[in-house]
């Protein structure tokens, strides 16, 4: 895909999220919007996947550690052909396979349970080591939130992954400076976070998380480093692309009205 096509796909995924949460009447739209661009690059360009064979052993692995943003993971999987797009509205309802947080046994294409914050990097490290041991030439991609990095197990995994020289582990951090309870900078001393990852011996990059070309380049740079895990800080805007959601933490978990869906549809370029 071209940069423009990937950018349009990112907006398609954003609109899927708005429509999914509207139909389901529950879910976290805001945390999806800031990662839409990296999700588009990963699922429609970078990840080596086979939707017809979700458990293909040679595939790249993907972990949405901030699992509450699963509406956009489900949208990406549906658009990638794992299941019909019409299933998205079943999110969080009893009859649907689309759980409130990702479940590897219910949703095809989901590689692990996630959503209990802090665990995705450690699980990804296990995947990376298991694949390396079995001589599978692939990569494990993880998306964590910024506030999520307040969890202690993140730093346990940071130490272990560097010691294990897990060059096939690439972590994106969605640095939108918001978490459930407010601004990350108001709630913790996490920032400046990139320095911490450097101190833990990771390969660190900081990029505009809404710049498709920058995301592509950062992934290529990360893959070129084979003896250290990579941390790519995505400078992002929570709610990106939907005017009333941008930097408005009320949309961390909120259901858009009919009118708000229409506003989003126009802002995101319509149903592409």
């Amino acid at each position: 895909m071209t940069v423009e096509e990937l950018s349009r796909m990112a907006n398609r995924l954003r609109l899927d999220v708005v429509e999914t949460v509207h139909t389901a009447g529950d879910g976290h739209p805001g945390p999806c919007m800031s990662i839409a661009d990296v999700m588009a690059v990963l699922f429609f360009e970078e990840l080596r996947l086979d939707p017809q064979n979700p458990r293909w052993i040679e595939r790249d692995r993907f972990i949405l550690s901030k699992g509450h943003a699963c509406p956009i993971l489900y949208a990406a999987l549906a658009r990638r052909g794992y299941f019909p797009v019409e299933e998205l509205g079943g999110l969080r309802s009893l009859g649907s396979f689309l759980q409130g947080h990702p479940d590897m046994n219910k949703v095809p294409g989901v590689d692990t349970v996630s959503g209990s914050l802090g665990n995705g990097i450690a699980i990804g490290l296990g995947m990376a080591l298991g694949c390396r041991y079995q001589k599978i030439d692939n990569h494990v991609y993880v998306i964590v939130g910024d506030g999520e990095q307040e969890e202690g197990v993140i730093w346990e995994a940071a130490m272990a992954a560097a010691k294990q020289k897990a060059g096939n582990l690439i972590v994106f951090a969605d640095c939108n400076n918001y978490q459930s309870g407010g601004k990350v900078t108001d709630l913790s001393s996490l920032y400046p976070v990139e320095d911490k990852w450097k101190a833990f011996h990771w390969h660190v990059q900081v990029i505009d998380g809404h710049d498709i070309s920058a995301i592509r380049t950062a992934i290529a740079n990360a893959k070129a480093v084979t003896d250290a895990p990579s941390y790519i800080a995505l400078k992002t805007v929570k709610g990106k692309g939907v005017p009333y959601m941008e930097n408005n933490n009320a949309w961390h978990k909120k259901v858009p009205s009919d009118e708000e869906v229409e506003i989003a549809r126009k802002a995101l370029g319509g149903a592409i």
Partner: protein
């Protein structure tokens, strides 16, 4: 009574299996020495994944490994595993049913003995038993721990194996069978009372049954080496004969094997079951035998418990 290390025995079983299965790996939160896994590491250095003193990370890493088809074993002190990493075990291993094995050291007062409360664990069985999909094994001595480890690795999905300090009384001959998911009658002097025992307290349970016999009370002693899934049929068959029981374990009286026996009794054959274990208190440092005597798990306590079980009201 001579002692033999359950840690050494279980890791010997793991090493033997690992020679024929290159998917078996150990995830170590700096536990290789404690687990007596040095021979494993010497033979398979690339199959010990050392994560440092980080139990939560160890369990998550094991979960990730299992998704790729590896067969990881996480081994460390029982409480650091089942309490500190409790949610990781539940959410990332047990919920998706991943094939990760857990070995907990220092089970019970006997396991932790002189270390004190921070390193003695009497809640682990209850915690692990409460998680859907997790199986729980409490072998009685080193010979049984060896066979329990072999049986554990035959199971698909999470299993918790409870081990001790490395100084457990040796009670059974080496040819004693271990059958996953089944209780086993160790002694059948008669049907006056059942003694259900689990783990490294078995020597005392045997001595209590013999003491009772000398007093004219003929007990059936049952080894409950699989605490989950509980052998309801096997337990019920014994209770139907005896109509009363004492259940003894080196664990808090809430949540462990004795609770599980009571659950079976309530459902299938209501009768009096006296529970003997740590009586919901924190003990202290001391030599293993002295601790068990001091906290209600002496041979006399077990025999007295059996008599209380036999009282009609």
């Amino acid at each position: 009574m001579s002692t033999k290390s359950t840690r050494e025995a279980a890791m010997r079983a793991v090493l033997e299996l690992a020679r024929g299965d290159d998917k078996i790996v150990i995830v170590s939160p700096d536990s290789v020495a404690a687990a007596r896994a040095v021979p494993f590491r010497d033979e398979f250095p690339d199959r010990v994944i050392e994560v440092g003193i980080a139990e939560q990370d160890a369990v998550d890493v094991a979960a990730g490994l299992a998704t790729t088809g590896m067969k990881p074993i996480v081994v460390t002190y029982a409480g650091f595993l089942t309490m500190r990493a409790c949610e990781m075990i539940r959410t990332f291993v047990a919920y998706p049913g991943l094939n990760v094995k857990f070995i907990g050291l220092n089970g019970g007062m006997l396991g932790g003995e002189r270390e004190g409360v921070t390193h003695q664990f009497y809640e682990d069985v209850g915690i692990m038993r409460s998680m859907p999909g997790v199986k729980v094994l409490c072998p009685a001595d080193a010979g049984q721990a060896y066979k329990a480890a072999l049986a554990m690795m035959e199971q698909d999905g999470p299993v918790y194996l409870r081990l001790g300090s490395g100084r457990e009384p040796e009670v059974f001959p080496d040819d004693t069978p271990f059958e996953f998911g089944k209780v086993r009658e160790v002694l059948h002097y008669g049907d006056d009372v059942a003694v259900f025992a689990s783990g490294f307290i078995m020597d005392r349970a045997i001595a209590a049954a013999e003491k009772l016999k000398a007093e004219g009370i003929n007990a059936t002693l049952v080894d409950v080496s699989t605490v989950k899934p509980m052998d309801s049929a096997g337990v019920t068959a014994v209770l139907r004969r005896t109509n009363c029981a004492v259940a003894v374990e080196d664990h808090n009286i809430y949540g462990g094997m004795s609770s599980a026996i009571c659950e079976v009794a309530c459902h299938y054959h209501p009768c009096r079951v006296i529970r003997l274990g740590l009586r919901d208190v924190y003990p202290r440092s001391g030599k293993a035998a002295e601790l068990l005597d001091a906290y209600g798990l002496s041979v006399d306590d077990i025999a007295a418990g059996a008599k209380r079980a036999m009282e009609k009201d």
